[in-house]
Symmetry: C2
Subunit: 448 residues, 2 copies
């Protein structure tokens, strides 16, 4: 096998065999194939795509490059959720304890913020003492005890993916659907899951801005999961505006606790309940969607989900009593500045990328993976597209470390919210449900 021949074949629109992908990734993970050859291959894949068997071979090779959990002994279904990310998306923090409180094991493996999108790990680490870098053994022990653990991807899981993922970031080959699907699924399939629910975000603040790309990604990932016996379902959710009110690490933890108490903003609550419903269904612990949703709602109203979150926080090194008095434990920004509407009108757009970028400016996000993150800063988004506002109504609140930071963020955020005479066309908050059986359009919930 000459690597240049494989690159050439892909470049010319051909397919590699499953064995060729296996060999390629094995040598790549071992350092025997240089980054420059894999970079050329990734760019060729960007232009030529991959056949289903190729994606499966790549996923298997990355999965098999590392350790895999073995969770059959838990005696209950194991379900995780993966989101393709967005701004203000704190769903994981609520969903994991909620579903665990319903008797399903949730080994949730999350990522960090990069670019305009936030990351669950950074949000969790806004909780003083919270550790996300547990060893796999400790994670399994916590799963046995509590039924839920919230960790980051370790070097032990899919190291070949880790190397390719970093390379793609440096070579403008991130947005290749086969590579995205293989990357996500190689990590998720290492968790020995019974089922997986995918939150495929779509819109200006998401990685995918076009519906057809989101559908293609969802279908590809579902095929990969189902072929390995993991029941996989995807919801396409709207990420054309920030989700909820709080955007920033500590404030998102606070909003998550409000959601776990049964309150919080409607849009996050709705997305969380919809994903929880799917997780309970793929886990096989509810007879139908109505029963699953009722059970999820009960976990919120009964306090079980909140109690589970409190136990997880303590188990992973966070403070006792966080859920009762979040403000006493979470970092607060010393400077607050409100941006108000300068006239009457309807909110046309709230640009998620502008909000995400302002959070980076404030020190709460990352433009490089090595950047440190300030948990206290952020932006509160008081309005959603379609809302009617009067001149003087607060649109955004900037939470800054300093006056200078607030001023810099305010100047960026000047273009974040646009007003018009009439409301914008409605967008579905959850537009499609994708399963192995096909695509269902969901006409119900709209964002406004």
């Amino acid at each position: 096998m000459r690597v240049t021949d494989l690159i050439e074949r892909k470049r010319d629109g051909g397919a590699l065999t499953r064995d060729e992908w296996t060999a390629l990734m094995r040598y790549y993970a071992a350092g025997d194939i240089p980054d420059y050859q894999m970079a050329a291959m990734a760019m060729a894949v960007y232009f030529r795509g991959m056949e289903d068997a190729e994606i499966e071979g790549l996923t298997a090779a990355m999965l098999e490059s590392g350790e895999r959990l073995s969770l059959g002994h838990l005696g209950r279904p194991r379900v995780d959720k993966h989101s393709t990310g967005g701004v203000g998306d704190k769903v994981s923090l609520v969903l994991a304890p909620l579903v665990a409180a319903c008797g399903v094991a949730v080994p949730m493996m999350s990522g960090r913020a990069l670019g305009h999108t936030g990351g669950t790990l950074d949000k969790l680490e806004a909780i003083p003492g919270f550790r996300t870098d547990l060893s796999l053994d400790r994670a399994v022990a916590q799963l046995e005890r509590l039924g839920c653990v919230l960790i980051g991807q370790t070097d032990a899981i899919a190291p070949a993916d880790r190397r390719l993922y970093a390379l793609r970031g440096a070579t403008a080959t991130v947005p290749a659907i086969p590579l995205i699907a293989a990357s996500i699924m190689s990590k998720k399939l290492a968790e020995d899951l019974t089922g997986l629910v995918l939150d495929v975000t779509t819109g200006a603040g998401a990685f995918m801005t076009r519906l057809e790309d989101s559908l293609a990604l969802a279908r590809t990932m579902i095929a990969l999961g189902e072929r390995r016996g993991c029941r996989t379902v995807a919801l396409l959710t709207d990420m054309d505006a920030p989700l909820g009110v709080a955007c920033g690490n500590a404030v998102e933890v606070e909003e998550s606790i409000a959601l776990l108490r049964g309150g919080g903003p409607d849009d996050v609550r709705e997305v969380t309940l919809a994903l929880a419903t799917e997780m309970l269904l793929v886990a096989g612990v509810a007879a139908d969607a109505a029963a699953a949703r009722a059970r999820a709602v009960r976990a919120l109203t009964s306090g079980d989900a909140l109690e589970m979150f409190g136990r997880i926080v303590v188990a992973q090194g966070g403070p006792v009593g966080l859920v009762d008095a979040p403000a006493a434990h979470l970092a607060a920004a010393p400077v607050r500045r409100v941006i108000a509407a300068d006239r009457d009108g309807f909110i046309q757009r709230v640009e998620p990328r502008v909000v995400g970028s302002a959070i980076i400016t404030l020190g709460g996000g990352r433009s490089r993976t090595t950047d440190a993150v300030d948990p206290a800063v952020g932006v509160l988004v008081h309005v959603r597209p379609g809302a009617r506002v009067a001149a003087g109504d607060p649109l955004l609140t900037i939470l800054a470390r300093s006056e200078a930071g607030a001023a810099a963020a305010a100047s960026e955020l000047a273009v974040a919210v646009s007003l018009a005479e009439a409301p914008p066309p409605a967008r579905a908050l959850i537009s499609h449900r994708v399963t192995a059986a096909g695509v269902e359009e969901l006409p119900g919930t709209v964002t406004h």
Copy 2:
């Protein structure tokens, strides 16, 4: 300037500015931009192409990354030839002394064999003692004295091209016309040439198999040369069969000496005279094509070209008397094996890649740049497409180091020559002449 942004722009079909290409290549040559980013860029260029201004910027950046000759003091025109390569192509060995004998300075910079194509440097080094690694100062001194020097590309010339060229070979991004054109022209323009003649080979044994690719490459290189004041002309020549009889390093030197004596196979002689005519025209030393050709023919018949070659050989370390008794100085293969026609018929094809590959098997070529080359081995091709043969007529002679080598080559060469009842359609030996003014189809010479 973020490199990923530049790659992304090219990936999406946009153009880089001239300054961006300059900066990219400067940092790349310095090692500050890693190979993997340039590999992704090269693959994006393969799919998206480059605009004229981009190719010019890239060429200029590679040219300016190294030293450049300054030859104005020679007091005569400086002309070089570049061929895109083939099998049995020993034209440079004849052409350089021939044109130099006509009063034109020829600073000829050549390459080595790679893959199925031969390389002028390897042929020259079949001459015992011949040095092709002269310093630029020594090369200029020889140009002043003799008017001709035959050297390899040094690290001093266009080092950025050298690095990119090696990378392209390892990443299946060689056949991107803008990158080929920029690579060739960045080296040629460093020679401070008055004029340049391009031999763009086309056919099964060439790099380009399609006429439109050859024309596109010719036009791109001509634009690059003319824009920098170097008169540039291209001939499209046939490389659908080996050129001449001798294929292999020592035997090609021998055939070159026969050509310099005014003999040798018709096809090589014709291509050489056509290229010589163009070189004398761009040099401005002949009034028209007829006068230029007559002058070139005279240099062969008078013995001036042969004498010039003998002087170059001695000046660069080769033996005195080589041209008078080549067999006394050149390595000969101990084993010869003839492959004969098994029936009557017309030669349909002589596959140049099969011949080239058999030479690698015999040890006379390279599959990797680090392979050593045996000068003695080779293949003599006694027939050209269209020739009528009778059963038992010799088709090929294998020149091998050992019986085992001959057997291995014979088994490869079994498919090299195909016979048919009728002759194949005629192909033009020199099909097109391309200048800044446009493309001329040349109806005259055909291969058979």
